[in-house]
């Protein structure tokens, strides 16, 4: 039976109007309330908080605040100190013994941190999980044979070959985080959203696509973080982050160089700019004609002006880089040649090469203003010696697959940027012959390079290891397939009432050491 309702056209229209008006009502200025908490902007969504499957620095910054490691970085330096371990000793090149502090409790009632948890956490990297899923950071623990558990608090890490970078890169890094076996097994996939750790903070709320809240872990006894809570807010847009910092809605954010320039001098805001540790270079595909000709590659290197390109790309804010490893990192080749533009030499090399001028090459680059500007300068400079450049700019996902598989066969010139790792052997691995078709976009195919890189990975003598790393950089230089451009600059902006803590690369933020001043 049909019944009449009380709705009329007029009442509905009035309702819509009322609803709209209601949504416009002002409320209390809660956004401006003072809180004993730190609000940090993250530019990328938090994806996965299970350490072996985390997806980047946004995830790892959270994880390092939640979990303990045997050793952990001190604030602002690549130096480490004991964390969950009371004692650690490298008893032989293939064995590290550890003793844990007693009474370190996992949150959520998952019990005390034990040597078995260390075994479980580290061995997760080298064995697929129950569903056959492997960690994407498997290579970090490539030398691990097993972790032997002697009793509740002691154990030994057994390696298959000496691993000089294990301490500072793996044990003190995100791959050295210690999880609770009980929690991971009990929570399953949920553990990637509600991690159970024993570190200074614990995750108290996590809203996908929004961010999360870290709260002090009351059971963590080593020290008390200055901030009771750290709110991580996902703000994708750079301009919004800048405005939110100005309006004091966020306390800390990474900034673009342009935004940093604008914010310098803004009241109550501190801007920090430092040389970065990401290396940027112009690569040439050595297997694609005419770039398979050494003289052509050398001519291109001689025809471009690195200083001018970097100036155009970074407005004078970024330093020039002359070799793969940036200054300040182990293995930096301080005597690397500083190539200056020499048009006559470039023309002579092209004449010797036997190629018919003009030649046209495609320069593939990421659609970022800095890269676009450098590309335009390179285009102008190379045209003077008879090399026409077509610029192919691509958005991130498309760009990062440009050199992979078969699509890499057609690549010619490109700008590329990698994050430098404190371990120089790790940085060199992307240039191995085995990386051709994956990340070795130059297709730089040197057996000698592969041999030295492999040897350096197990050389415990620091001085001779540095020499090996320098040898690697010399081989790269001889190939003329990489013209190093810059190690960029990173910029961070924060309220002057905050004293942040972050590692020298500017990406790894140490929330437990942030202080209110």
């Amino acid at each position: 039976m049909l019944t009449s309702t009380n709705f009329t056209r007029r009442s509905i229209l009035a309702g819509i109007a009322g609803l709209s008006a209601a949504t416009m009502l002002p409320g209390g200025p809660a956004w401006a309330q003072e809180q004993r908490s730190l609000t940090v902007r993250i530019s990328r969504e938090i994806q996965n908080l299970d350490p072996p499957f985390m997806t980047g620095t946004t995830d790892s910054n959270v994880l390092r605040a939640v979990f303990q490691r045997l050793v952990a970085y001190v604030p602002n330096k690549y130096e480490y100190e004991l964390d969950a371990a009371e004692k650690m000793e490298q008893v032989s090149p293939l064995q590290i013994d550890f003793t844990l502090k007693k009474g370190q409790m996992f949150t959520g009632g998952y019990g005390e941190l034990t040597a078995d948890d260390v075994k479980f956490s580290f061995e997760r990297y080298i064995r697929p999980d129950a569903e056959g899923k492997e960690s994407s950071y498997k290579a970090d623990w490539a030398a691990l044979v097993e972790v032997q558990v002697h009793d509740t608090y002691t154990g030994s890490i057994i390696l298959s070959k000496p691993s000089p970078s294990l301490w500072e890169v793996v044990l003190a890094g995100t791959s050295g985080l210690i999880q609770s076996r009980k929690a991971v097994e009990a929570l399953g996939a949920e553990h990637s959203r509600t991690p159970i750790g024993s570190g200074p903070y614990m995750v108290t709320s996590f809203e996908a696509h929004r961010g999360l809240t870290l709260s002090r872990n009351p059971d963590f006894a080593d020290y008390v973080p200055d901030y009771e809570t750290v709110n991580l807010i996902y703000i994708a847009n750079q301009k919004t982050a800048e405005l939110a910092l100005r309006a004091k809605e966020i306390d800390f954010t990474e900034l673009s160089i342009d935004a940093a320039e604008e914010l310098i001098g803004a009241e109550g805001i501190t801007v920090e700019k430092r040389p970065g540790q990401r290396f940027v270079w112009m690569g040439m595909n050595m297997q694609k004609a005419p770039l398979d000709n050494l003289a052509v590659r050398k001519a291109i290197r001689a025809a471009i002006d690195v200083d001018e390109m970097v100036l155009a790309g970074y407005q004078g804010n970024a330093p020039r880089l002359n070799t793969m490893i940036p200054p300040g990192l182990l293995g930096h080749w301080s005597d690397a040649p500083v190539y200056q533009r020499n048009v006559d030499e470039a023309r002579q090399l092209l004449a010797e090469s036997g190629v018919t001028l003009p030649i046209t090459l495609k320069l593939t680059l990421l659609n970022e203003p800095g890269f676009q500007n450098m590309g335009l300068v390179a285009q102008a400079l190379l045209s003077e010696v008879g090399i026409n450049i077509e610029i192919d700019q691509r958005e991130a996902a498309t760009f990062w697959s440009s050199g992979k598989g078969e699509s890499g066969d057609d690549l010619e010139l490109f700008f590329l940027r990698f994050n430098a790792n404190p371990d120089p052997t790790y940085n060199a691995r992307w240039f191995l012959p085995s990386q051709i078709g994956d990340w070795n976009w130059q297709r730089f195919d040197s057996a000698e390079f592969a041999r030295i890189q492999d040897e350096s990975g197990s050389n415990l003598d620091r001085d001779s290891r540095v020499q090996q790393i320098i040898e690697l950089q010399k081989l790269m230089d001889e190939s003329a397939s990489m013209v190093w451009l810059t190690n960029e600059v990173f910029a961070l902006g924060y309220q002057s009432s905050v004293q942040p803590a972050f590692l020298p690369d500017g990406n790894n933020w140490q929330f437990p050491y942030f202080k209110a001043i």
Binding site: R9, I16, A17, L19, S20, A21, T23, M24, L25, P26, G27, G28, P29, A30, W31, Q33, E45, Q47, N48, T55, G56, K133, E134, S135, S136, Y137, K138, A139, A189, S192, R193, S205, E207, A208, H209, R210, G211, T213, N231, I233, Y234, A236, N237, T240, L243, A244, A247, E249, R394, E395, A396, A397, T398, W400, S401, K404, F418, W430, D438, W439
Partner: protein, 339 residues
């Protein structure tokens, strides 16, 4: 063969007029729902094909350079991207049939949860924006028609054109600079962790205004044009002859007829806004559906992208169906026997 069952109806068993209308309505509804289902299917087909053609490696975009080739391969398989399009479509619709939009391979979360978390933010913003646009745009359009050629009308025409032509994200940034940074009256971020209703509402003001301004201009122009036509009709002259007040003639009689064409635009606008006001959500850091879509596309997160696009398409189709149904509600002269 088309059978006319009316011929076999027993003598005296003619339908009443009410039952006949109901049957016409049922036929109309059935046709529209069928069209809607086909539209959703067609849209999904096009979208899956297009997604397949988008260049870029999802494994690289999501996993980064650290991923081993083996893991990247496994990841591609988990996303189902190694399968033909028809298999992926079949799997997707089989899941949808039981109310499951799939699982985000990266986070392990259900796409249903991701979409349902985002929808309230999108609904609130879309309805508030369109409500505000109607609240200002309709009276402005009436004013422009009634005072045709006046300074106010000319001024409104200029302002409307500016509102319509300036992209909402430019307006959004402008509003942020003025009201949040310079005046410090309103917050920059469009969503709060502080869950008080008042705070949520305050945070909605700027994104709502930024989104509504363009629609205010459009609705004002449409209503003005329709009103000018309505004001020239005989029934308006008759009403005047009866001595009715001008306001009553404008708002009770003329506007009721003039607003019908605008309804279609408003319906389509709500559909679009519910589908995600992508740029505004990004600028104001709101985690609505548009923002989810944008991030999923950037990361080539196909499982999330596919599920959220499906919801957007369904919302758009449903809102348009409701808009069509509402015509007769607002104008009783419209019946469902017209196809």
């Amino acid at each position: 063969m088309d059978t006319n069952w009316e011929l076999f109806r027993p003598f005296g068993a003619h339908e009443t007029e009410g039952a006949g209308r109901l049957r016409l309505f049922e036929n109309f509804l059935f046709n529209r729902i069928l069209t809607a289902v086909l539209s959703v299917f067609g849209a999904m087909l096009v979208i899956v094909v297009l997604l397949n053609m988008v260049p870029g490696d999802p494994a690289t975009a999501l996993l980064g350079p650290m991923a081993t080739p083996e893991y990247a391969q496994r990841f591609i398989a988990e996303m189902g991207l190694d399968q033909p399009i028809y298999v992926r479509l079949w799997k997707f619709f089989s899941q949808v049939a039981v109310g499951n939009l799939g699982t985000d391979v990266i986070s392990g979360r259900s796409v249903n949860a991701i979409v349902w978390n985002a929808l309230p933010h999108t609904f609130a913003l879309a309805l508030a924006s369109m409500g505000l646009a109607c609240l200002i745009g309709i009276p402005a359009g009436v004013y422009g028609a009634v005072h045709k050629g006046s300074i106010g009308d000319t001024l409104m025409a200029m302002v409307s054109v500016v509102f319509v032509s300036v992209p909402s994200f430019i307006l959004g940034i402008f509003l942020l600079i003025v009201f949040s940074v310079m005046l410090n009256w309103l917050p920059v971020l469009g969503v709060s962790d502080n869950a008080t209703l008042g705070d949520h509402l305050v945070r909605m003001i700027l994104p709502t205004v930024a989104l509504a301004l363009g629609w205010i201009g459009l609705i004002a122009r449409l209503v003005r044009t329709s009103m000018l036509e309505a004001l020239g009709q005989n029934y308006v002259r008759t009403a005047r002859a009866y001595g009715l007040r001008e306001n009553m003639i404008h708002y009770k009689y003329a506007l009721k007829n003039a607003v019908i064409p605008t309804l279609a635009i408003i319906g389509m606008g709500i559909g679009r806004l519910l589908g995600g006001a992508v740029l505004i959500e990004i600028i104001f850091a709101r985690q609505g559906l548009g923002s989810v879509l944008y991030d999923a596309l950037q990361a080539r997160n196909f499982s999330v992208l596919q599920g959220s696009v499906f919801v957007v398409v369904v919302i758009f189709v449903v809102v348009n169906l409701l808009t069509e149904l509402s015509y007769s509600f607002f104008d009783p002269r419209i019946r469902y026997n017209r196809r």
